[in-house]
Symmetry: C2
Subunit: 326 residues, 2 copies
């Protein structure tokens, strides 16, 4: 028996479920931002991973759609609230809800979305509900913890590489690994396979986040990627924490202070920090780490109890996520 | 068979469950505000009503404690987020989480509390879980809608008495009526009794909110109640919407503008508005309405399928809530 769905058909199936997403009309300032947020595009990575996992383990994909809705609504909820905390005016090339309607609306519409995510979950078959509910809530709390650690790091004296990995395991990986676990659970996978799907998605999430960090400094501007945003914000990234742990104390001072140096232009700030990254060989270390995490993720797939052809779509999902053909 | 618990013993039982409320230690800025919020007192009205209802219908009160925790954690979550939206520095005579840690912390700790509320629900027996989950989420969304309507009213041209009642049905009553419905559901009450408990708590919540509105203008300062806060903020209250619908167009202008008149002291502003309230007989209308709502709530209790002595504690709860001996 082969899988019923490809990555593309799963996405289409989910998009058509999403097209039926409805809210009451009133109060308008509560629900319009929710519609705006949910219809603002995005790659629907988390529901696609969830539904692909259901299919890989021979589960009922259509019956799992409410769980896909729940993780997607939850993801969009985090964007609304993150944009308040980060004062972020743009999201997916459009004004953020925060920019368009203000903090109070983004706050309350976000709260409503979090509750809506649970309403979607409550549509799942009651036999699996309790288990899925717990995976979902644990995942959701990890995402909040990750966001708090991320904010803590802004003013932290020292962030180790281990601290940083623990943070993105929560902030980025948890939602992917939770989605994979929910999918496996709904399909009736064994505890062992559920655990392995958690490992797969965790490692994949780390690889994805480290690559995202790297592209901010070494991405291709020709591809429309603006370079150096993280450097200008003085953000902790994998490159920065790696650089800090390899730098001399003078270099560390430069890394710490360049983004707030009023004598430098933005271009000079980026050039200064990147020159140190180059000197400290940070790019190579990051690339190595991405490779290790990505390979680990793929390796986990081979240890699942299901036949190899059933994991093909998961492998394809992983490659797509990392922007790799093969 | 009589009820096993009184109002006092239910409260004690709940407080001892609450004393076991724990969170992880880290990240500290996420969890300290939650501990601070949950241990900051409060009357625990919603869990007490929930557990009293369980007992009245002969259910297992101890098994319902997680649901009590869920509504109490949810209530405190709303306070954290409301204080951000209202810029409120004080809560229960202490600095609010917003004042003590700032908006971002209050936002993220609040989100975590909302998720924690669902984690408590997931501990309920799986047979009732789906039903309770839906009542809880519907109630939670109504609370958000109520908060949005309340904010809408700040800049609304005209708020009718009906609009105002619909708003407080959501913002104040929904959490009480949801608690009562969850309690009845957990105890296995009939659909008819569940609906009646909804009516009881809705009317009681309205009576309570209208009384709260009235005490802001006509409370006893000797009892430590500061008079006129709502008037100075220019807030929509039952008294204000009643006054607006009875006033001449000149009086309406006075009601609308007094709170922002820079030529008046606070004492003068309060006196000006209260003089109009007196003239328009607003106090009497409000008292009548409180009486009607309160009597309706009590009358519902007599129509429940359970024996009269089983509803005594609910009646006592209602009287306590309104600060009445008899």
């Amino acid at each position: 028996m082969v899988m019923k769905y490809s990555n593309d058909t799963i996405l289409k199936l989910f998009e058509s479920a999403l097209a039926q997403f409805q809210t009451p009309e009133e109060p308008e300032l509560l629900y319009s931002p929710i519609i705006y947020s949910m219809s603002g595009g995005g790659k629907r990575l988390r529901p696609v991973l969830l539904l692909l996992t259901v299919d890989a383990f021979g589960g009922d994909v259509e019956a799992a759609l409410p769980a896909g809705m729940a993780v997607e609504v939850f993801h969009n909820f985090t964007l609304l609230h993150d944009d308040i905390m980060d004062n972020a005016m743009m999201r997916r090339g459009q004004p953020s809800v925060f920019a368009k309607w203000g903090g109070n609306v983004a706050l309350l519409s976000g709260d409503t979305m979090l509750i809506m995510a649970y309403k979607h979950l409550a549509r799942l078959e009651s036999e699996k509900l309790c288990r899925v509910l717990n995976i979902f809530s644990d995942m959701a709390i990890e995402v909040c913890e990750g966001q708090q650690y991320d904010m803590d790091f802004e003013s932290a004296e020292k962030v180790t590489v281990e601290d940083y990995i623990l943070m993105i395991e929560r902030k980025t990986s948890a939602l992917l690994s939770g989605s994979a676990m929910i999918g496996a659970t709904l399909a009736g996978a064994s505890e062992d396979d559920i655990r392995k799907m958690y490992r797969f998605a965790t490692e994949l999430g780390l690889a994805f986040q480290l690559q995202d960090d790297m592209l901010d400094s070494y991405g291709d501007e020709a591809l429309g990627k603006k370079i150096g945003g993280d450097i200008l914000e003085g953000k902790q990234t994998y490159l920065m924490v790696q650089a800090m742990c390899r730098a001399s104390s003078e270099e560390r001072e430069v890394l710490r202070s360049t983004h707030k140096n009023p004598l430098l232009s933005d271009v000079e700030k980026i050039a200064t920090v990147k020159a140190l990254y180059d000197k400290l060989d940070v790019k190579r270390f990051t690339e190595q780490q991405i490779e290790i995490r990505f390979e680990r993720a793929l390796a986990v797939l081979n240890t699942l109890s299901i036949a190899g052809e059933r994991t093909k779509c998961l492998e394809e999902f992983a490659r797509n996520l990392m922007g790799r053909k093969k």
